[in-house]
């Protein structure tokens, strides 16, 4: 058991552009195993954690994530998730999970209508998910955002339910985009699918300004290793 490496599958859709960054952090910084998963495949190649990285799948044409959700790989991911497999959607990956109905809600255009790239302070709301085990509840962490459609929307009664079920995992300290309840990341009811707008892979190396994101990957690996 001990130090067995965990295999992360990093999905590549046409237009994904954070695949290489995510792969790099998993492999070189977290020192786990990483494989790319091509959108047309249906095989997850033994992945123990599936990551949908950020970027602009299909150029984000139509709506962010709207076209990628029809990829063959998404069927495999749905099955994997239904069996309890860990799925992490970052930025565009989060948007795809929303469009695919694997997470509830939808993304609207940012309140200011502009793309925003900058570090944000987040509060870890739920430190008991497989992706946040290594964080403390209430901890403040710094990670960059980079999106134009990050304004999270969900119907009021569903929002209340999300909150009641403690499924808001990350919250912005200062709301950059108009998201309801300052939501930056949520988890599904089963507790195995996390979607987050901030980029943990961009906050995993000290020279880039923060290492707060690394624990997202390390938590998932630890969770799988110990379960």
């Amino acid at each position: 058991m001990g130090n067995r490496k965990i295999r992360f599958g990093v999905v590549v859709f046409p237009g994904t552009n954070c695949d290489r960054d995510t792969y790099h952090v998993i492999k070189e910084v977290a020192e786990e195993e990483a494989v790319y998963l091509w959108h047309r495949e249906r095989d997850l190649r033994g992945s123990q954690v599936v990551v949908l990285p950020g970027g602009f799948s299909y150029g984000d044409y139509l709506r962010s994530g709207a076209i990628a959700r029809f990829s063959p790989i998404m069927e495999a991911i749905r099955e994997f998730a239904e069996g309890g497999g860990l799925v992490l959607g970052i930025c565009n990956g989060f948007q795809i999970l929303l469009e695919a109905g694997l997470l509830p809600g939808a993304m609207l255009r940012n309140k200011g209508l502009r793309f925003i790239c900058r570090f944000e302070e987040l509060e870890v709301e739920n430190a008991e998910t497989p992706f946040t085990l290594l964080y403390e509840k209430g901890e403040r962490v710094k990670m960059p955002i980079a999106h134009i459609d990050g304004n999270y929307f969900i119907e009021p009664h569903k929002l209340a339910l999300l909150e009641r079920e403690k499924r808001v995992v990350f919250r912005y300290r200062e709301n950059p985009n108009g998201s309801l309840n300052d939501i930056a990341g949520i988890i599904n009811r089963g507790g195995n699918i996390l979607g987050m707008m901030p980029h943990p892979e961009r906050a995993s190396e000290a020279e880039l300004g923060s290492t707060d994101g690394l624990r997202t990957f390390l938590s998932a690996a630890k969770y799988v290793r110990e379960s």
Partner: protein, 77 residues
């Protein structure tokens, strides 16, 4: 056959783009504008007699996100 599909935000969903345009119009002196909402429109040409079924289907499945959007469509000749 040609079809036009309009996809628009549900009334209860805030529309940041419409809001911004409204404010811009007010600044420009168009102060009779009470509300602006922005939607998308798709002009589709397809080889099909019975296009209605296809159009309805792609609007529902692909073009609109049911969480936030509604749609309507019509065909032209």
């Amino acid at each position: 056959m040609k079809a036009k599909i309009e996809v628009f935000l549900k009334p209860e969903v805030l529309d940041p783009q419409g809001e911004t345009i409204k404010r811009a119009l007010h600044t420009l002196g168009y102060d009779t504008i009470r509300e602006v909402r922005q939607g998308k429109v798709f002009y589709i040409e397809l080889d099909e007699k019975d296009a209605g079924k296809v159009i309805e289907e792609i609007a529902r499945k692909v073009l609109a996100n049911p969480v936030i959007e509604d749609f309507r469509w019509e065909t032209e000749k």
